[in-house]
């Protein structure tokens, strides 16, 4: 892939040459999706910013080694995923920092179960919040690879090939991850998906 096709790669090449404003542009553009991914991977929005900061510092430090072999966003999300997984491993070695969470690398088993945050209120806002919480909870309960692939899939800029690079699977395996994730979510969110409104099991 050439830098002409990917404007972010072109910016990254400027960063490699010491252009700080190009780096700032990339941080501004990607801070939100990176923090979203990190927060949903580690299940901790407050810690997500610190890890996202490390992600961008890592990007800057690695700039001199940067080669335009893939889209910049693919490279960035790979770093974000790796640092998030490192954090999960660190927490599993030091469980005191996350007593209420258990983690596993096994793709067939959910990494964690989000707490049941159900509350019932009369207003539409409360209902919306409840629906979002249910969707968050269902996504959080997915195995890590399925969750990452699914979350990346919602971005138009990521092809299956690029998602496959980030999660480290073949393209067919990545399609299968996304399919399985969606099937699981459809099952868990069935009442909401069918009616458009929440309905208790």
């Amino acid at each position: 892939m050439s830098a002409e096709l990917d404007p972010d790669a072109a910016l990254m090449l400027k960063v490699r040459d010491g252009d700080r404003s190009a780096f700032e542009t990339l941080v501004e553009k990607y801070k939100q999706p990176v923090i979203n991914l990190v927060a949903r991977t580690i299940g901790d929005p407050t810690e997500a910013e610190d890890i996202a900061q490390h992600v961008f510092v890592q990007v800057y430090k690695s700039a001199h080694r940067y080669q335009v072999t893939a889209k910049f966003s693919t490279w960035l999300f790979t770093i974000a995923r790796n640092l998030s997984l490192n954090e999960l491993r660190r927490r599993s070695r030091h469980p005191a920092s996350s007593l209420d969470e258990t983690f596993a690398d096994d793709d067939e088993h959910p990494i964690r179960q989000a707490p049941d945050t159900r509350t019932f209120g009369p207003t539409e806002q409360l209902l919306q919040g409840e629906l979002e919480a249910r969707v968050e909870e269902a996504i959080a309960a997915l195995p890590e690879k399925q969750r990452t692939a699914l979350l990346m899939c919602r971005h138009e800029e990521f092809s299956y090939e690029e998602i496959a690079r980030v999660v480290g699977c073949s393209m067919s395996a990545t399609k299968s991850l996304i399919h399985r994730a969606r099937e699981t979510l459809k099952e868990r969110l069935k009442p909401y998906l069918r009616s458009g409104a929440w309905r208790e099991d």
Binding site: R20, F23, E24, V27, E28, K31, Q32, I35, N36, A39, R40, P45, A48, E49, A52, Q53, F56, V57, Y60, K61, L131, E132, V135, E136, I139, L150, L151, C153, R154, H155, E156, I178, R182, L185, K186, L189, Y192, L193, R194, G196
Partner: protein, 164 residues
């Protein structure tokens, strides 16, 4: 529209809302495949649910914090680099002297070793027939005879003095 196109539209709906044209195509297809409508509605609802996930809040100073962290990294790297240079400047003359001393010692050892080898070579090449040498028993009283000879010399010296 065939099944492949339908799958493509489902895939697109995961990423964004369909355009009016895409929607019309899909509706046409669903009109002839009413059994697939429920599945499609479910797929679309799921895509919308995933897209409706709110963004995780980001601090307003996030970018400046990143830039500050980068500055600190660079400062740290520069300090490490200076520290490496300082050690280099400190060690280099000492390493040079040590290398010179080691070289002198090495040359001296080498020379001595060479001389020793040459001497050994010369001794080996001497035309001595060891079979003709007397047996060691001959030298049994060597020390006593040697002392007698020295005593005799002293006496002769005294006699010579008396005569003078």
């Amino acid at each position: 529209m065939n099944d492949v196109r339908k799958e493509e539209l489902i895939r697109l709906s995961m990423k964004r809302e369909l355009t009016a044209e895409e929607e019309a195509n899909l509706e046409k297809w669903l009109a002839t495949h009413p059994e697939a409508r429920a599945q499609w509605e479910e797929e679309r609802a799921l895509s919308r649910a995933i897209h409706s996930l709110p963004d995780v809040p980001v601090s307003s100073n996030f970018t400046s914090r990143v830039l500050q962290a980068v500055d600190m990294e660079e400062t740290g790297e520069a300090r490490k680099e200076r520290s490496r240079h300082r050690w280099f400047r400190f060690l280099l003359p000492r390493i040079g002297w040590a290398a010179a001393v080691a070289a002198v010692i090495g040359v001296a050892i080498h020379n001595r070793s060479t001389e020793r080898k040459e001497l050994e070579g010369a001794l080996v090449s001497l035309p001595i027939d060891f079979t003709k040498l007397p047996a060691p028993d001959v030298l049994a009283d060597f020390d006593a005879i040697n002392q007698l000879r020295q005593a005799s010399v002293t006496t002769d010296d005294r006699l010579l003095e008396a005569l003078q």
